[in-house]
């Protein structure tokens, strides 16, 4: 089976133990509200290797989005620290791409102009970045829609533009906050497969937040299971299914066992409306 590729990237061989890219130590967040302090996230320890795909799964209020925002440098931690490539994270970094549940496209810009927006902000817009944008749009299947406006695209296509916008500036890390949560089941499945293919080929580390257990297990090298009140990491599960992942693997006993394992951690009287 040949994996589709982006650029000249080769599918990542996960033989040698890769280096650490993100290191989270005792990271926590307490919000101070009028009614008193609320612990959104209790001290998290996590070491993520380069090229790893990590899913964060848990019900609302488990602090998974809070954790993602702190790793993104968008939210300051109240305890502990996180590093990216050995440097403390205390502000956003251009090595990190962030994707939201909605595509967050600018409706007055064409697909191509949206994808090139970060390059304008960085002051790096050039023929090279235009070429890169075209390559990436090709990879997400939107080459023919470069001059279309967002409102002419379906929800799934808009999220692909959003993905292309992020990939064009070649981040080392992709942070995704329920990126396909608003899409229908079929589109989401297709997007998930594409996402894995593209990030694997480019060797991008992915932190993927979801409340869908099946999706979390299917995508990840490791699933970080989180529980609420207070938000904390309740378990980390290794997913030792071969890559590239296929839909058929979802029928395997290993897969079913992993789902039960995640459910087991989430369970125990918690109202896990996942």
């Amino acid at each position: 089976m040949m994996a589709a590729r982006i650029d000249n990237g080769t599918p990542l061989e996960r033989a040698a133990p890769a280096e650490t890219i993100i290191d989270v130590k005792g990271l926590g967040k307490t919000f101070t509200l009028d009614s008193g302090p609320v612990i959104a996230l209790e001290s998290v320890d996590l070491t993520i290797r380069k090229g790893e795909f990590i899913s964060f799964v848990g019900p609302s209020g488990c602090g998974k989005s809070t954790l993602l925002n702190m790793v993104a440098g968008l939210l300051p931690a109240t305890e502990g620290a996180a590093t990216l490539n050995g440097r403390a994270i205390n502000e956003p970094s251009r090595q990190v791409g962030f994707m939201f549940q909605t595509a967050v496209l600018l409706p007055w810009r064409t697909v191509e102009e949206n994808v090139l927006m970060p390059a304008e902000v960085f002051g790096t817009k050039s023929e090279a970045t235009r070429q890169k944008a075209r390559t990436v749009l090709e990879a997400v299947g939107l080459r023919d829609f470069m001059n279309a406006y967002p409102r002419q695209l379906s929800g799934g296509m808009q999220q692909r533009v959003s993905l292309a916008r992020t990939l064009t500036y070649e981040p080392d890390v992709l942070l995704m906050d329920e990126p396909f949560g608003a899409l229908d089941e079929f589109t989401r499945e297709a997007m998930n497969l594409e996402l894995m293919r593209i990030t694997q080929a480019a060797g991008i580390t992915v932190l993927f937040v979801t409340h869908n257990i099946t999706e979390a297990v299917f995508m990840a090298d490791r699933v970080v299971v989180m529980t609420p009140r207070p938000g904390k990491v309740s378990g980390v599960i290794d997913v030792e299914l071969p890559r590239p992942r296929t839909i058929d693997q979802m029928q395997s006993q290993t897969f079913t066992d992993l789902i039960f394992k995640v459910r087991g951690i989430l369970g125990h009287g918690q109202d896990s409306h996942a």
Binding site: A72, Q101, F145, Y149, E194
Partner: protein, 276 residues
């Protein structure tokens, strides 16, 4: 083989505001029919003696008065005085509203301090300032321009503020995640996002500028279309009063449609859901 997953191959088309062209035509015919009925009633009521022609001159009499008025030598002077007052008042009012709106939106401290004044000012019926402005700025054009500015800047100010503050949180977050400067975020995201709302305020400002100039002329002036209305009313030449009203309506409508056209050119991405 590289597997390409092609979903959503067809772009979603924006739904037509009307079910079909046929229905659109029917609506236009209804509008036309209502206009015809109104004009017919206007023409017939004075002719049939239902109202005195001094109170309501017939439609044809007004058309006649309009034509004869526009042929008068003095007409162009009065017309251009009022038009100038409206235009200067509108441009200044819009600029001030825009500048203040942006200042309050990007500078939270300024908003906290100034907002009570803004709301308080809005509560005043600004027309009461007209006699004061005549006393301060004289019978000439400047007092009318000030009046037009004072009542027209407000919708622009409020709409600019509301528009800039309605930028979705995720869009701000996206800009922060790529370390955009506040100016970059403003220019690339906030301002274009707010533009449809700002433009609605600008359209209102034009109507208000017309009101400001005319009210100023009512209160004290020696030229202008508002002055003509006062003059002809005192002379009981109601047909000419109506003729001036028609001209003022034409100025307002002309400006509005010009802005409407500009709006559609400028804000081409507006969807039906966002309204007019």
């Amino acid at each position: 083989m590289a597997k390409t997953v092609t979903l959503d191959a067809e772009p979603v088309k924006a739904a037509s505001p009307y079910k079909n062209a046929n229905q659109e035509l029917r609506y236009k015919l209804y509008t036309l029919a209502i206009i015809v009925v109104i004009l017919a009633a206007w023409e017939l009521a004075p002719r049939m003696g239902l109202v005195s022609p001094i109170i309501l001159p017939s439609f044809s009499a007004v058309v006649g008065a309009l034509i004869s008025l526009m042929q008068q030598d003095f007409f162009l002077r009065h017309f251009s005085v009022t038009l100038t007052e409206i235009l200067i008042g509108f441009v200044l009012g819009t600029s001030i509203g825009l500048a203040l709106g942006i200042a309050l939106a990007v500078w939270p401290t300024a908003k906290r301090i100034a907002y009570p004044f803004v709301v308080g000012f809005q509560a005043i019926p600004k027309i009461v300032f007209a006699p004061l402005f005549i006393a301060w700025f004289g019978f000439g054009m400047s007092s009318k321009v000030v009046m037009a500015v004072v009542i027209s800047f407000f919708p622009v100010l409020i709409n600019t503020l509301v528009g800039l503050e309605s930028v979705p949180e995720d869009a701000r977050k996206l800009m922060r995640s790529i370390k955009a400067t506040p100016l970059q975020t403003f220019r690339k995201v906030s301002l274009p996002h707010a533009l449809p709302v700002i433009f609605a305020g600008v359209k209102a400002a034009l109507t208000f500028a017309v009101i400001g100039a005319i009210v100023g002329e009512f209160v004290g002036a020696s030229e202008g279309l508002g002055y003509l209305v006062e003059l002809y009313k005192n002379q009981l030449r109601i047909d000419r009063v109506f003729a001036v009203i028609v001209i003022l309506a034409a100025i307002g409508a002309g400006g509005y449609f010009l802005l409407e056209w500009l709006d559609r050119k400028l804000i081409f991405w507006r969807t039906d859901a966002q309204g007019k």
